[in-house]
Each structure stands twice: as C-alpha cells, then as structure tokens.
Subunit: 213 residues, 2 copies
C-alpha cells in the first residue's frame, strides 16, 4: 500500500541519497484571493511595513514551512503556514480567542524536518510541570488528542524540542492558539508557558503535531 | 525511541491481542467552561432539543471520536470532536467561513480506526475530478499540506474511503470547513463535493488527516 506519490523531482533527490535543503518561498498579497499588491519572500521579514506592504490579506506558500506573527519582530499570535493557498485571514488564523486581522512579520521554520526523512527527525519531550519536572513523555509523531494517547490533563508544564519543529495547540484537533516550538530556538527549551510566545495566556495544550517541509 | 506511552489499560489490551471496541462517551454543557445543565451521551443524538438541552456551549469528550453538526439530523457544518476539553464554541469550531454558535446534533464515528491498530487501517483515495476520474493518489496517513506531498491543486474532485475515517479541510494545516469522510457512509463514496456535507460550497481541500480513537 503506497503513500501519496512524491513530485518527480523530490523522488529523484531521495533516490540519490542527497539531503534536500528546502527552498523557502512565500508570496503575500494586500487583498483577499491573491489580488492587489504582492511581495515574494524567500527569507524572514520582521516588519511588512518596511517591506513595502500596508497589510496582508492572502498568502500563497510555494515552498517550505513558515510562521507568521500578529506583530512585527515575530511577536504576538503565531500562524503556522504550510504549502498551499490561504485566500483570506480566516484561512490561516485558525480558531483564536481574539480576532484581529493582522500579520506583520513572518519567517521560515528552518529546523522543520524534511518529508523525505525518517520519523526520527522530529522529537520532543513534554513535561507535567514547569522546568522539565514531573511526569514526561517523548513525542515523535502527530497527536490530535494528547488525552487519547494517555496524557491525563489538558495542560503541559514545559517542553523540550530535541530535533525538528512542532506546533502545539490549545484544543484537540489542532485548534485554538498555536505555539511553534523549534529545536534551534532557546536550545529547544520551553520551561514555562510564558516562553511559548508573547500571546500565550495559559498552559493549556491538547494537540501537538510535527512541522515538515 | 519510544512513542508516547499509552494508558496502562490500553497497553494491557494491546498486549493481550484483543481488539478494542471503543466506548463512546461525551458530556455537553449549556454554559461555557463546563458549567450549567449538562447531558452525557454514549450514542447519537439527532436533536439536542429532544434530549432536554437548549444549547451546547462547552463539551468534554471522554472516549471515542465524535462529530457534531450545526443543525439537527446531522446537517450543516461539521465539527470533529476528539478526546479532550472544549470550553467554548471557538474551541471546537475551528476557523469557519461563517460564525454561528450552534451545535444541534452529534454522533460517534464508529468506523474510525483504533490507535492500537496499524497504519493500514485508514485508507482512502482522492481523485482529481468528480466521479472518481482523473489522476488519483491513495492516502493512509496525515497530510497538513496536500500540495507539499505532490498534489498540485487546492481542490479535490471526488474521494473514496476504503477503510477507517478521515477529516478533510479547506485550507492547509487542518483549517477551515471540515468534512468527515467515513468508509461506512455511502459505501465510502463521495463522488462530488456536494456529497461532502450540506454545508459544503466548494471542492477546495488542502489538508486531510485520519480520525483515530
């Protein structure tokens, strides 16, 4: 039983044993449905106003995994942006506790693992309590419900990302506020929910999944 | 490298080789944050008004995977409900094109595969065109971005679920309108986007994942 077929280019690279350094590319548009003034990015932008844009209303991710932020300098609510089309704000915001149509900065998620790599390239630990204390489990897959897997509470105390990148969500089924956790940031250490992002108000985490290019 | 540990009960059942018939249980509350009048369900409810409730504002899924619907008799927008806590409407609605705080019917997803089964217990085909025509691929995993896997367009023409159950989403990263696809419904055949649910307005599908208990 085969998995969905890869693009011919990727299959050739996989067969040759070459690692793939993902090429990152996203185009953002000032109007919904990919209309109006647009700008292409292949690396981070810490303030869209300085990149010649007033507002972002739709996004087309062509390559790589990105994270967008509500405020400039990568602050505020986080939005995981994987390859595909987001024709309006609701398409990339997910369900959030407050609705503010603003995306002011964005950057690639460089340490996300490649789809061609094995399962073992995304690994993290979650802990019951802050500062990596209490009961813990190791995660290397996707968990739409942590409780269905045996994690008995709707919160996580602290996390450590050993390799790759993950996105954690407040509610089951990958809903609610999103927190992107990367092995390359803070040495992969997230010892308190206040470290998960400037928008984080609670230790509530009920689903977690890997980020892969 | 081990996966997250299972609950002791599940591990014992897995070790003994027994299949697990999941026990389905959900409690719904008339107020947010699990307050007010509540009702427990272990099987379907086609109209919450007939079950003694005025409204549902928070949900606690204790066992099994469920789907909630905007209207009675399992019509309207669909909401996948996996084990965990949903303290208010935003927590289970995800990001939707229209906001209406209503959940009027719900039922178990009986054919969702068990977490203790192998990968091969959830399988479906997606087709480029209606009526199972055009290019196709077989899916048996989770795809936060179909385009990252080589599916070149943001739409799907038709689908056939061979076993298990999947939830399909309008946008990448499991966002937007949700469509629950089950092998036991319509013989697993979904030949046109109009068959995906009474709320479906478009063939746009950009992420798909398995539903597992």
């Amino acid at each position: 039983m085969h998995r969905t077929t890869r693009s011919p280019m990727m299959q050739t690279l996989v067969n040759s044993g070459m690692g793939i350094a993902p090429f990152f590319k996203v185009t953002v548009f000032e109007q919904e449905h990919f209309q109006g003034k647009c700008q292409e990015f292949t690396s981070e932008c810490c303030n869209i106003h300085e990149c010649g844009l007033d507002i972002i209303r739709s996004i087309r991710v062509e390559s790589g995994a990105w994270v967008g932020f509500e405020h400039h300098d990568f602050q505020g609510q986080q939005f995981i942006l994987e390859r595909g089309e987001y024709p309006h704000w609701d398409a990339y915001s997910g369900s959030l506790s407050y609705h503010v149509e603003r995306l002011m900065s964005l950057r690639p998620i460089y340490c996300a693992s490649s789809l061609s790599q094995s399962h073992m390239s995304s690994r993290m630990m979650i802990f019951e309590r802050e500062n990596f204390m209490g009961r813990s489990v190791e995660l290397c897959d996707d968990y739409p419900s942590l409780q269905a897997m045996g994690w008995s509470m709707p919160e996580v105390g602290s996390m450590h990302v050993q390799c790759g990148a993950f996105v954690c969500y407040q509610f089951p089924g990958y809903r609610g506020q999103q927190y992107i956790m990367e092995c390359e940031r803070h040495s992969g250490d997230y010892q308190h929910w206040k470290n998960w992002g400037s928008h984080c108000q609670t230790p509530q985490i009920q689903s977690i999944r890997r980020i892969q290019h």
